[in-house]
């Protein structure tokens, strides 16, 4: 082999050893999932039960009641009559065009994903803000979670847990949880050092500082994270439908494979409508949380 050839073709690993390399990892993982798949599935059972129960609740309750509850939540969150009326029309149209059941499935999985993301993400964000070492360790993981194409991590999840709601839920959470972790960390780190010093000077311990000063002051930023998390969860609906999650994603998928333009458009618009409602409500709620910042001088 002469020198010029060396520079033109990359000195790659031999095909044989690459094959063995891939095969051994795949094999090891397959063995792992055969061995522990059931156990891990059992761990997620409570989540699955809750998810199924919540979906059934939304689908089987009388639709006017469901709409009423949603509208009350919209109003309490946003305190906006316009948004409430807009939501009413959007929901009525969704129902009229025959997408009520799918929409309720989507709302249930998005809701559960959001709550799990908040429940996991805020403590992780707090831990990150507490130590630079934790931050250095977690940040690259978050980067991977956000940039790795979802299909890639769907493979091991499906291998481990099969097709269904739980793998879908995991995929959505992996994709949607980074913003809330990052913004919790950022929000806490952004709290004014002097205010923290004041809390210290009055003898506040770590817990008191966290719950009375850091978290309340970080709340608007954390809420921006929750908003992002909801939006990203909605964006995953179609991909999640590929591994068997019911909802508005499935008709979209069907529309893509069969070229049903109108079907795709209607379901797509329903997702947009949900996104707008979630976004406006969570944003205006977040804004009200920081009223003390903009309070006018009198």
């Amino acid at each position: 082999m002469n020198l010029s050839e060396f520079f033109i073709t990359f000195p790659e690993m031999s095909k044989e050893s690459l094959r063995i390399f891939k095969k051994s990892i795949d094999g090891a993982y397959r063995n792992f999932s055969r061995e522990y798949g059931d156990t891990i599935e059992a761990v997620f059972d409570p989540v699955l039960y809750f998810l199924v129960w919540f979906e059934k609740l939304l689908q089987t309750s009388p639709w006017p009641l469901v709409i009423l509850v949603i509208l009350i939540l919209v109003y309490l969150g946003s305190r906006s009559i316009n948004l409430t009326i807009g939501s009413l029309f959007a929901l009525l149209l969704i129902g009229y065009f025959g997408m009520w059941e799918d929409t309720m499935s989507t709302v249930s999985i998005i809701g559960v994903c959001t709550f799990m993301s908040i429940g996991l993400g805020i403590p992780i964000g707090i831990a990150m803000s507490n130590s630079d070492r934790a931050r250095a360790a977690i940040t690259p993981i978050l980067d991977v979670m956000q940039t790795m194409p979802s299909f890639v991590y769907l493979i091991p999840v499906v291998m481990l847990l099969g097709i269904g709601k739980i793998p879908g839920l995991l995929a959505v959470i992996i994709y949607a949880i980074p913003p809330i972790i990052r913004l919790t960390d950022l929000g806490i780190r952004e709290v004014d050092k002097e205010v923290l010093e004041a809390a210290d000077a009055f003898g506040a311990n770590k817990r008191q500082k966290l719950f009375r000063v850091q978290l309340p002051l970080a709340l608007p930023t954390i809420f921006a994270g929750i908003n992002q998390t909801i939006m990203m969860a909605l964006a995953m609906v179609v991909i999640a439908s590929m591994i068997g999650v019911k909802g508005l994603g499935q008709p979209v998928l069907k529309a893509i494979t069969n070229q049903y333009f109108t079907m795709g458009l209607l379901n797509g618009l329903a997702i947009v409508a949900l996104a707008i409602i979630f976004d406006r409500v969570s944003q205006s709620f977040g804004k009200r949380l920081q009223q003390h910042r903009s309070g006018s001088r009198e």
């Binding site: 004014d192 002097e194 205010v195 010093e197 004041a198 809390a199 210290d200 000077a201 009055f202 003898g203 506040a204 311990n205 008191q208 009375r212 000063v213 309340p216 002051l217 003390h292 910042r293 309070g295 006018s296 001088r297 009198e298």
Partner: protein, 309 residues
């Protein structure tokens, strides 16, 4: 080893060097110096917001530097209150909750802490503002909240870190007067940090001057003005209006003989307020003490000596 050597060789900044300072109970001890002199570092050693590398801080014979974590929290909760240069109020709490902060940290019940907070809000003249948020108040009012917050836990030590430096001159004077007025009844041990010599002279029972982390002089306002310890202090006090700070007793003539003039001044009067009397009179003036007993005399020449400098 010099300060520069420490920085270049070990990448450490010298904060404070060999400071020995006794603060008398129930007095106002002013620590003054320019930025970088270590005065804010010094005050933070007292409640250990900054840990000293060496040395001890004694409060009633108890070494603060030896307290463990929970003892330190107790010390901060019960013994000290702190007021900050840029107020450092909690922006998400209204005024009454800000004032209550130290009390709520101690888990004092709501009714009692409300009552105490209202008492101090009233004391600093912020009645009617209890439910406003800090950013709805002016700077001076915010610092009143800061003062009330520090006093609410009834600490015996008050740490004031450039507390009035961020305020407009007029408001600053106001706050200084208010602090002196409060101190008459409270008799707290106050450590007051400032870079403003006039403020130091006005407030301090004793004044310590820091330069580059070293204590250059510690004494009463009078001692600092009349016998500055070195060139640095001398330069510092050069432009001060002595007549405003000094009292008759520091320039009067104790050996004088009483004359029959009916114009007189008191030993505790400050010179400025007596200037017209002294300058208009051809003779020496009689000086009386607080019991109207003759103690000496004062003349134009005494005043001229001190003013020309």
């Amino acid at each position: 080893m010099s300060k520069d050597e420490l920085l270049t060789k070990y990448n450490h900044v010298l904060g404070l060097d060999d400071i020995n300072l006794n603060v008398a109970e129930q007095s106002i001890q002013v620590v003054m110096g320019l930025s970088g002199s270590g005065k804010s570092t010094l005050i933070r050693h007292i409640n250990r917001l900054i840990e000293p590398t060496e040395g001890s801080v004694l409060v009633d014979d108890q070494d603060i530097t030896k307290l463990n974590k929970s003892e330190l929290l107790e010390f901060r909760r019960n013994r000290t209150g702190m007021v900050f240069q840029r107020f450092a109020l909690f922006p998400h709490h209204n005024i009454i909750d800000n004032v209550k902060f130290g009390l709520s940290i101690k888990n004092i019940d709501k009714a009692e802490s409300n009552e105490k907070a209202m008492f101090w809000i009233d004391k600093v003249g912020l009645n009617g503002f209890e439910y406003k948020f800090p950013n709805q108040l002016s700077g001076g009012m915010q610092q009143r909240v800061g003062l009330a917050r520090a006093l609410a836990t009834d600490p015996d030590i008050l740490l004031m870190d450039e507390a009035f430096s961020a305020l407009d001159p007029l408001i600053r004077t106001d706050m200084q007067d208010q602090l002196l007025e409060l101190q008459k009844n409270l008799r707290k041990t106050i450590m007051f940090i400032t870079h403003d010599l006039d403020e130091a002279l006005k407030l301090g029972d004793r004044i310590s001057i820091l330069n580059g982390g070293k204590l250059v002089q510690d004494g009463t306002a009078e001692a600092i003005l009349l016998s500055p310890a070195d060139e640095y202090v001398k330069n510092f006090v050069k432009d001060v209006n002595r007549a405003k700070v000094l009292k008759i007793k520091s320039i009067m003539n104790f050996s004088g003989v009483q004359n029959n003039s009916d114009i007189s001044v008191k030993v505790e009067d400050n010179i400025e307020s007596c200037l017209p009397k002294i300058l208009e009179s051809e003779h020496e003036l009689n000086v009386f003490d607080n019991n109207n007993k003759f103690v000496g005399s004062i003349s134009r020449n005494n005043v001229a000596d001190i003013l020309k400098n």
